[in-house]
């Protein structure tokens, strides 16, 4: 006798029997929600918000990757719910066919999808927190740990996860309602077998897609510069629309992969006809999925490239510094003198050598600046007080570097780094002004000198000795300063460097509590014109540093008088920048995981939907090897093309950005790009391992189905 006496009982039994499909739906939702919850939790955490500079590029890039991941997860959950209903539709159709009205089916179906979607979404959101906690904990345990790495979550991130939760539940209920609204019952019954062929374009679409990616990338990247030159106004945000061809191009490349494949047509026309046919007729979803996978792989690559590019350039740069200790200070500050420092070194059983000192002055330098006309427009003007520069004499240059520089009167040489990538002069300076007496000299740019330790945001100019003497006259101590450098004799001492840093920082008064972006000359100029310097307004607040946080990354990298103690820089670098890099490492893990989960699910769906074809092929005499090959071909299209396109596009784009930053690629950047290439090979290996495992699972399932 049956235990099932009414609709509710029957629905319960059918739901129990449908566990397999429900489980897939639950897992897909759970993973999507967990990833969004974890990503938003880390992104909104005080830990990350404190370290990532407001309005900085790294923050914008983090948000951009988050939006991309969010879009990927939205597409994935829509796909998951679609998949669930494709299997469910037969059951609904049969019940409708034998007289169940939509009104009768609606409550049960809503109950089921509401339960499944809200359960998976809620547990996904909750799991996001331990997920981020565990990953972050592992980073701290295995990679880098510092006080700044302590994770302080801000639960306002739940707004994002909550919105996604509502989207998932509402999307599932809407899909249920849409299925029941269908008037053609036969269509509902046969939904599982209905193909969704993709619009077929000719074989030109793949190459045209690559051209569009290239064109979109170049246009999007170059457009702001061209806009500023042509329109003399700041580029509007809608200009980003020029990147759209990149996405259209990616779609066309994926379409080509699904419809035509990339092998020579004549050789493979019949060889690939079955696998190509199977993919083509489920093309729409496959192409969408592949596009999302490509973007996620590209996002993962972009995030992971941050690590070698940032760390290698910096660490190799520190190692190449000409001396162990280098610092500069204003003459009005009471900095420990040589004797005190040597005494401190002795306490650390360290002797110092190669002690060199030289004076510098700070002058106002003329230059072309952008003057805002309001409404986003600007014009270029030459200002005698364009900004502050530090100036040393030919003799001081010789004292510090041991090299002679012959500077002709009326000219200046600009100090940059060996690679000439650190250039902050526009070579248009025509005047140098004494900010106390107002005297000035006409001058012009005559070339570069190279000294890594003196290259930076506020560049050093080297003047003829006589002109330097003339310009120094009348300057007060706040416009004068000294540069000191020395080496450790033998093995350097980290505790000494650390204590010296503390001593050095503590010696400065509040007037020096500024970043290198704070320009005293611009402040005077603006005040003379009756305006407030923008750094003194609310806009400048986000660039403020404090002597209370002298160990923060912001202070250590942005302070106007930051010293360069090699042993400190090398040892503290990862600790200092840990949050930044670990955030990007986390983004890498999240994007790659999401991409691989989508790859795996899509491949399993293609195989599941085509299981009848595999069965028919077997009946027609296809040997196991042939069937294996067909499964391999389909899975490889889903895994390999998006991985290759995503990784290659991002590598080229990243190399372009590195080049575009300063118009050249330094030797450190070449090494970092080499490491990035190595990482891509590792990423490729991970993708390949998951691909092989997916293929194995699919073959096992097909074998079970057929038996």
């Amino acid at each position: 006798m049956t235990e099932m006496h009414n609709m509710k009982g029957m629905e319960r039994k059918l739901q129990k029997a449908d566990r397999k499909h429900s489980r897939l739906y639950l897992i897909c939702n759970f993973i999507a929600l967990m990833i969004i919850s974890a990503f938003s939790a880390l992104m909104c955490s005080k830990t990350v918000q404190t370290v990532f500079p407001q309005g900085g590029d790294s923050r914008k890039q983090m948000y951009a990757i988050f939006v991309m991941t969010l879009a990927g997860c939205v597409v994935f959950t829509i796909y998951a719910v679609g998949l669930f209903f494709r299997h469910k539709s037969r059951q609904l159709g049969v019940l409708m066919a034998i007289g169940a009205s939509r009104r009768m089916l609606l409550p049960g179906l809503f109950r089921e999808v509401f339960f499944l979607s809200s359960l998976s979404a809620a547990t996904g959101i909750l799991a996001g927190f331990p997920f981020v906690g565990i990953i972050w904990g592992l980073f701290r345990l295995l990679l880098v740990d510092s006080a700044e790495m302590a994770l302080y979550l801000d639960f306002r991130c739940l707004y994002i996860s909550g919105a996604f939760f509502l989207l998932v539940v509402a999307g599932a209920c809407f899909t249920a309602w849409r299925y029941l609204k269908k008037t053609n019952i036969m269509e509902v019954i046969r939904e599982e077998h209905i193909n969704e062929p993709v619009k077929q374009l000719g074989r030109w679409c793949g190459p045209a897609g690559f051209l569009l990616i290239l064109a979109g990338g170049v246009m999007g990247y170059k457009a702001p510069v061209v806009w500023m030159r042509l329109c003399s106004s700041y580029p509007p945000s809608w200009l980003s629309v020029l990147y759209v061809p990149v996405f259209v191009g990616l779609y066309m490349v994926m379409l080509h992969t699904v419809v035509h494949g990339w092998k020579m047509q004549n050789k493979t026309r019949y060889k690939d006809i079955i696998s190509r046919g199977m993919m083509k007729f489920q093309g729409r979803q496959t192409v969408n999925n592949m596009l999302v996978i490509t973007l996620l792989i590209a996002g993962a690559a972009f995030a992971i490239f941050y690590l070698p590019m940032g760390t290698l350039s910096s660490l190799l740069g520190y190692r190449a510094y000409a001396c162990d200790y280098f610092y500069q200070y204003r003459a009005d500050q009471k900095i420990p003198e040589r004797g005190a420092i040597e005494e401190l070194a002795r306490q650390h059983h360290l002797s110092l050598k190669d002690w060199k000192e030289a004076g510098y002055i700070t002058l106002g330098a003329g230059g072309e600046i952008e003057v805002s006309d309001g409404g986003g427009r600007f014009h270029i003007e030459y200002e005698v007080l364009g900004g502050e520069v530090k100036v040393i004499s030919e003799d001081a240059w010789y004292t510090l570097t041991g090299h002679r520089a012959d500077v002709l009167p009326g000219t200046y040489l600009y100090v940059t780094n060996t690679e000439e990538t650190s250039i902050y002069t526009d070579e248009t300076a025509e005047d140098l002004t004494n900010m106390v007496t107002g005297s000035h000299i006409d001058t012009e740019f005559a070339g570069f000198l190279h000294y890594d330790l003196m290259a930076g945001e506020i560049g050093y100019y080297v003047l003829d000795n006589e002109e330097y003497r003339r310009m120094s006259q009348g300057l007060t101590d706040e416009w004068r300063g000294r540069i000191v450098q020395f080496n450790a004799d033998g093995k350097d001492s980290y505790p000494f460097a650390s204590e010296l840093y503390r001593l050095f920082v503590d010696s400065f008064d509040e007037s020096c509590e500024q970043t290198c972006a704070y320009d005293r000359v611009v402040k005077i100029r603006e005040n003379e014109k009756g305006r407030t310097y923008w750094m003194d307004t609310e806009l400048g607040d986000e660039f403020k540093i404090s002597f209370d946080q002298t160990d923060s990354m912001m202070f250590k990298t942005q302070w106007a008088y930051k010293p360069s103690f090699r042993i400190l820089l090398i040892n503290d670098y990862l600790r200092m920048t840990g949050v930044l890099y670990m955030m990007f490492f986390f983004v890498f893990i999240v994007c790659l995981t999401t991409a691989l989960v989508i790859c795996n699910t899509r491949c399993r769906t293609i195989a599941l939907n085509n299981r009848y074809i595999f069965d028919d092929l077997k009946k027609l005499g296809a040997p196991p090897d042939f069937l294996n090959r067909e499964v391999n071909k389909q899975c490889s299209s889903v895994f390999i093309t998006p991985a290759l396109v995503g990784m290659t596009t991002m590598y080229i784009l990243f190399a372009g950005i590195v080049y575009g930053n300063d118009g050249k690629i330094s030797s450190y950047e070449v090494i970092a790009l080499g490491v990035c290439l190595g990482i891509l090979i590792l990423m490729g290996a991970v993708v390949y391992i998951v691909y092989r495992s997916t293929v194995r699972t699919i073959k096992r399932h097909l074998l079970q189905e057929q038996s």
Binding site: T2, M7, S101, T183, M186
Partner: protein
């Protein structure tokens, strides 16, 4: 010989009892892009109580579309369909669902059993949809299963039984609400000849013991030769009706001749 016979012609030439299915001037077309394809072009016939009628015709002649219109699975453009005196046109969705549940029984080519339910539960599904399963329904299900030789598999799941047994279970399901008409779409299409014969015998048994009215779409002249009457469709119109005379073998020959003639 009647060619392209009108509804009126059939009506006056039949000496049947109560009319269970009545179709008049039925039109149905499909829109594919900008092109409109007419599939049914003014079909008219009726089926009397206890009659076993088959519809045959080449692919694209409109057999399945006709059956889907009668089943209320798809809407039709024009004309009239009455099941047990109830007009389908103008009924709302709930009313159509009720007609499907109480007045019609369905047998599909691919059985359409629910995989998660046992054979017994599958047979009872139309009763569950109707409301509640009482003792009498369970007894009827057992009786039907015994009658069709599937009593021993009632507690098995569809995946555990043969195609023929699945189809007999589907026939039992179609009869559980004692419908006015059973609509069968290629019921032997997925079966071997032995199972086909058993399923057709099941229909005949239902007709004889329960006075079931059966309207079957088929490609199979062997299956059709067990019917009382066969309607031949061609290009969306009734080409000819062939009534059973003589033995089953003679009727099959007659059908094959008619089909050959239609193909010329």
């Amino acid at each position: 010989m009647e060619r392209h016979c009108s509804y009126a012609g059939i009506w006056h030439n039949r000496k049947a009892g109560k009319i269970m299915l009545y179709v008049k001037d039925l039109y149905k077309s499909y829109q594919v892009g900008r092109v409109k394809y007419s599939v049914l072009k003014g079909i008219g016939f009726h089926v009397a109580q206890g009659e076993f009628v088959a519809v045959m015709g080449p692919s694209g002649s409109g057999k399945t579309t006709l059956l889907n219109c009668i089943s209320c699975y798809i809407p039709f453009d024009d004309g009239s369909i009455m099941v047990g005196g109830v007009k389908l046109a103008g009924q709302d969705e709930d009313a159509l669902a009720k007609i499907r549940n109480t007045k019609l029984g369905f047998v599909f080519q691919d059985f359409m059993l629910l995989d998660g339910l046992t054979i017994r539960e599958n047979i009872l599904v139309p009763r569950i949809v109707q409301g509640k399963v009482e003792k009498d329904a369970e007894q009827l299900a057992a009786r039907l299963a015994d009658m069709f030789g599937i009593g021993h598999i009632l507690d098995k799941y569809p995946a555990e039984v043969s195609g023929g047994e699945k189809q007999r279970a589907a026939v039992a399901r179609s009869l559980i609400n004692r419908p006015m008409v059973i609509l069968a779409d290629e019921p032997t299409g997925n079966l071997d000849s032995k199972s086909s014969r058993i399923v057709i015998e099941t229909f005949i048994e239902a007709k004889q013991k329960m006075e079931a009215t059966i309207f079957m779409v088929t490609h199979d002249s062997f299956a059709a030769s067990f019917c009382d009457r066969v309607i031949l469709l061609k290009d969306g119109t009734i080409y000819r009706q062939v009534e059973k005379e003589g033995s089953q073998r003679e009727f099959q020959d007659k059908l094959l001749d008619a089909i050959r003639e239609m193909s010329d």
